[in-house]
């Protein structure tokens, strides 16, 4: 099942993909079908009682590490972001006027389904609730070599689109063999496969849960492959992962 959270008819609704439309699954509009174009898409993440932990990987594809002139890391290179960085499908992302290099990063996002602590790799998939697509934008002009990548690069308002769907883990039998692709204004600029991750999803869950507890709804953004390019205001960026979804985002100019 593909789940969405949408704003429609003056309220937030839960919905699932149904025959090319959205079928609302809760509340007074339960069962109602709405068109994809008639809703506001929100991040497809269930509400959580405390701050959602959002972990993101840097340099988790060998070709991307090479592209950025880094050696492949010996252990996961991970940073965190706040949930407020997330925006939904078909939203607007701001590009500051003074920057030279702002690029997308198409990433498989893992959404935890169970509380995870000291999980072994062999059991790790049991703890995954579902998958979605994230576009973890970075503005390279703002990189500083202190807790790099620093939050000014990676935790900016509007700079982490996620969605459109949360796809149940049961419907993704081979998460480590999914094609990823990004297009800018319809032209393919990035293509890769989750098979090329340096640290695969079970390894990441084992690693993080070895020292911290992950809760249902927590998110791991698993890094991006080779093929990043600068994006300008007006560009339409579609980050797509096979079987998970195609996440559309438009860059707009930020006014100082």
């Amino acid at each position: 099942m593909k789940h969405a959270r949408i704003a429609w008819s003056g309220a937030v609704q839960q919905a699932v993909e149904f025959d090319g439309q959205l079928r609302i699954t809760q509340g007074p509009h339960k069962g109602h079908l709405v068109s994809w174009d008639d809703v506001v898409w929100l991040p497809p993440l269930p509400p959580v009682p405390q701050a959602r932990t959002v972990i993101a990987l840097g340099l988790n594809y060998a070709d991307h590490a090479k592209e950025l002139e880094f050696k492949a890391p010996q252990e996961p290179l991970a940073f965190m972001k706040g949930e407020a960085a997330f925006i939904g499908h078909k939203a607007l992302t701001k590009r500051p006027a003074d920057v030279k290099y702002m690029h997308y990063e198409c990433e498989l996002a893992v959404v935890m389904g169970r509380t995870a602590r000291h999980v072994q790799k062999a059991d790790a998939y049991d703890y995954v609730g579902g998958y979605t697509v994230a576009n973890d934008y970075a503005i390279r002009d703002y990189l500083e070599n202190w807790y790099r990548p620093n939050l000014r690069v990676k935790n900016r308002d509007t700079c982490t689109p996620i969605g459109p769907w949360l796809v149940d883990a049961a419907d993704v039998p081979h998460p480590m063999a999914l094609k990823l692709q990004t297009t800018v204004n319809g032209k393919v600029t990035q293509s890769g496969s989750t098979a090329d991750m340096i640290f695969d999803v079970p390894t990441l869950i084992e690693y993080f849960s070895s020292f911290m507890t992950l809760q249902p709804g927590d998110v791991i953004l698993t890094g991006t492959p080779d093929g990043i390019v600068d994006c300008q205001p007006g560009d339409v960026i579609v980050t797509e992962i096979e079987g998970i979804g195609a996440l559309t985002n438009t860059i707009v100019k930020a006014h100082p």
Binding site: A51, T53, L77, G82, Y142, N145, L151, M212
Partner: protein, 218 residues
């Protein structure tokens, strides 16, 4: 929106908690001669922040349990600013920002700072006061004062820090921004091991007291 409505109950952060690195003049000055060296290449121009994820939240009165091979921890005494929905700090609390000692500030510090229980929470919040720019926090290890942290020596004052951070990310209602933790003259922080009790206190704010214990091996 009155975020301090939780005064009757032990406080838990409602939003994301951010910490600030290198925001005390003493630690900055100790680092300054090396800031141009590899891998840093230049001093940080903007606030260096990190996230304390929800698994670190450790309610007042609970021990810090050292697990997974950790035998000692750095004590970080900080003031957390609790945000209102207008981008202004509405309240504050002392916070014990524990970390596994780490000498390098190059890569993000998740495994040093985001372990379970590594943020000791205050029981209650205090309404925001502009005078906190002159607050002094005392750190006690087993009853003896081992550090005095003067917020008058912040590199970025509270208003400046809030302004510089909000330049690139909007702090949401309920988010917490910690102003930083100071080091000692040695450049290190007070360090605690199993059996130690740490208290941080400051005038007009609720103290935070935590005992450090060791868990059974996993």
């Amino acid at each position: 929106m009155p975020l301090i409505r939780t005064l009757q109950h032990p406080w838990q952060p409602q939003g994301t908690v951010y910490g600030t690195l290198l925001n005390f003049q003493r630690e900055w000055d100790l680092w300054a001669p090396r800031m141009h060296d590899d891998p840093h290449k230049a001093p940080p121009q903007q606030p260096v922040l990190y996230v304390k994820s929800a698994n670190t939240f450790n309610a007042a009165g609970h021990d810090l349990v050292l697990l997974d091979g950790v035998t000692e921890v750095d004590v970080g005494a900080s003031l957390g600013l609790v945000m209102g929905d207008d981008g202004q700090a509405q309240a504050g609390a002392l916070l014990l920002d524990w970390s596994v000692p780490h000498a390098s500030y190059f890569r993000p510090p998740i495994k040093f700072r985001c372990r379970d229980g590594y943020l000791g929470l205050s029981q209650v919040l205090t309404p925001f006061q502009a005078a906190w720019d002159r607050l002094e926090i005392e750190v006690l290890l087993n009853g003896a004062v081992v550090q005095r942290v003067a917020l008058s020596t912040l590199k970025r004052s509270i208003p400046q820090l809030l302004s510089d951070v909000s330049d690139f990310m909007t702090l949401q209602a309920g988010d917490v921004l910690m102003v930083g933790t100071d080091c000692l003259e040695t450049g290190l922080r007070p360090r605690a091991r199993a059996g130690d009790t740490v208290e941080i206190r400051a005038a007009g704010l609720a103290s935070v007291v935590q005992k450090v214990t060791t868990g059974s091996p996993a």
